[in-house]
């Protein structure tokens, strides 16, 4: 599926919930579906710094596609990471770099974009795109 197809799918899933409690429950469910993070990635090097919660994020390139691996010690944050991973993992670097993640707005997670939420979506998204940029540049050189 393309990035946008997955985004639309998530929007569709979220539309079933009209109150935040269900949405949070859904995020928590998402967090449980995130595969456990390999210990080698649970290091300072892969940590996205912030005061609110810890987020680890790593990426691997396989057959020209990027696969993300992530975890957080806060459940709701982990749920958000899981959504991002679901949307961007297994995509081509160039698609990730130019992806516009409109699903965030549409599922009512906008508040998590606030710059004060240092470990919010914005920081994770930036890191994911940085990985993609780096791989893209590397592939172009080859």
């Amino acid at each position: 599926m393309t990035i946008n197809e997955i985004q639309d799918q998530i929007i569709e899933e979220f539309s079933a919930y009209d109150d935040w409690m269900d949405r949070y429950a859904y995020l928590i469910e998402m967090s449980r579906e995130l595969p456990p993070l390999d210990q080698k990635y649970r290091t300072k090097e892969y940590l996205i710094e912030g005061c609110q919660s810890r987020v680890w994020l790593a990426a691997e390139l396989k057959d020209g596609k990027i696969y993300y691996f992530a975890d957080s010690d806060a459940l709701l944050v982990k749920g958000i990471v899981a959504l991002l991973v679901r949307v961007l993992s297994g995509q081509k670097p160039e698609d990730i770099v130019k992806a516009e993640l409109y699903f965030i707005d549409r599922i009512g997670l906008r508040e998590n974009l606030s710059p004060t939420r240092a470990n919010g979506l914005l920081a994770m998204l930036k890191q994911m795109k940085l990985y993609a940029l780096a791989w893209e540049a590397k592939m172009n050189r080859q």
Partner: protein, 406 residues
């Protein structure tokens, strides 16, 4: 007795719904809300008497100067300082500490000297001293705290030596709620002729402060944490210190006469107030203090103590709650963790229930490190809060447990 509904009516922001629920504002240690009288004053100043101070010959300037200088007297009385000249207006607690760290440091701190802070300080009472130490090659020493959040005065005694230049310590901890024995700390330091700066950011809104009784050399606080406007603050300094310390920032207001070969500085306290100050803010801060005094310390103290006891008891009923800081006589600040819930998750659920708390490290990372945790949830209460709101918090935490443990 406080008439709570009357008090609450004076804080218009409290009367609103957040995410469909009546707002419960328990983030008062971060900043307090403003009573109508303060809002009215800000509005009145800009509508009626606003002008720059200390220099104009015209009517508005004189009016503004008079009101601004009158607040110096209000603050002097509020802190029981000996003279209004001992009151310097700053941008806040951080501004006041940086001023002292710079000016005192310039004159009295040299390579190999030592500065003492405590383990329970807010970052703003650590970093300015750290920067001074780096500048001068001095050493930062730390008074540790012990369970349940009490400074180890014996360790403090051992830290004091002939190299110690100044001691900087919080009157009350923003994370643990502990009220420190500052008078005793001052006595111990003074026995060796070492001055003490007291960070009153979390104390002035909860208990009457008498700087002459404490005998501290400097006392700082923020206007915005005592129901006044943001960007206002106070540095109290004993006159002898303020006279001796060099100015921190240069500019207008703080000078007597300026020539290219030399400048004569203004007298204390204007020497420390470079540039146009926060005129309207300071005048409204005076109104906030008046509001507190009108409400009355006895009633405020009684209500906050009752509220604190109630909150401590009710929160304790929640299974698996752990408190950080449980010193006797503490102010109504509760840092806690519930079972294995991440504070950020708890805070996000509480937010959706209309309850505002702080989560994380509370700008006091050494306190969090002390316990080997990642952060806490913090509920900080003041006199406009109610026992019903405490019940809402407890209910919210229980809901968070249900949602997050599913």
């Amino acid at each position: 007795m406080l008439n709570l509904s009357d008090i609450r009516n004076q804080f218009p922001i409290l009367n609103q719904k957040v995410h469909g629920h009546q707002l419960v504002y328990f983030d008062n240690a971060a900043t307090t809300q403003k009573p109508q009288a303060v809002l009215n004053t800000l509005n009145r100043i800009y509508r009626e008497t606003y002008s720059n101070i200390h220099r104009g010959v015209h009517y508005l300037s004189e009016q503004s100067t008079e009101e601004y200088e009158n607040v110096r007297k209000i603050v002097q009385e509020f802190l029981h300082a000996a003279r209004p000249e001992e009151i310097v207006f700053t941008s806040g607690t951080t501004g006041g500490i940086n001023l002292v760290a710079f000016s005192f440091g310039e004159k009295y701190v040299n390579r190999g000297d030592e500065i003492i802070v405590s383990e329970m300080e807010h970052h703003s009472n650590i970093v300015p001293w750290q920067m001074l130490c780096q500048r001068k090659g001095a050493l930062l020493r730390v008074i540790p705290f012990r369970d349940p959040g009490i400074l180890d005065l014996e360790a403090f005694q051992n830290l004091l030596n002939e190299k110690t230049r100044i001691v900087a310590v919080a009157h009350a901890s923003n994370t643990l709620g502990t009220v420190n024995p500052v008078k005793e700390i001052v006595q111990m330091a003074h026995a060796r002729n070492i001055p003490v700066l007291v960070d009153g950011a979390q104390a002035v809104q909860h208990l009457p402060v008498d700087v002459q009784h404490l005998d501290c050399d400097f006392y700082v606080f923020s206007g915005h944490k005592i129901y006044g406007p943001t960007g206002t603050g106070v540095l109290y300094g004993k006159e002898k210190w303020l006279e001796e310390l060099p100015p921190w920032q240069g500019g207008g207001e703080m000078v007597e006469c300026v020539h290219f070969d030399h400048t004569d500085y203004a007298e204390v306290p204007l020497k420390f107030e470079a540039g146009t100050p926060n005129i309207a803010g300071v005048i409204a801060l005076g109104e906030a203090i008046r509001f507190l005094q009108k409400t009355g310390w006895d009633d405020i103290r009684r209500h906050e103590e009752e509220l604190g006891r109630y909150a401590r008891a009710k929160l304790s009923e929640i299974e698996g709650i752990r408190f950080f800081g449980d010193a006797p006589g503490k102010i109504a600040i509760f840092s806690f963790l519930v079972r294995n819930l991440h504070p950020y998750d708890t805070g996000m659920i509480l937010d959706k229930l209309g309850i505002a708390v702080r989560t994380g490290m509370h700008c006091a990372q050494p306190v969090i490190d002390h316990y080997g945790i990642e952060g806490t949830v913090r509920a900080s209460l003041v006199f406009y809060n109610t026992t019903e709101e405490v019940d809402r918090l407890c209910e919210g935490i229980r809901k968070a447990i249900t949602v997050l443990s599913r």
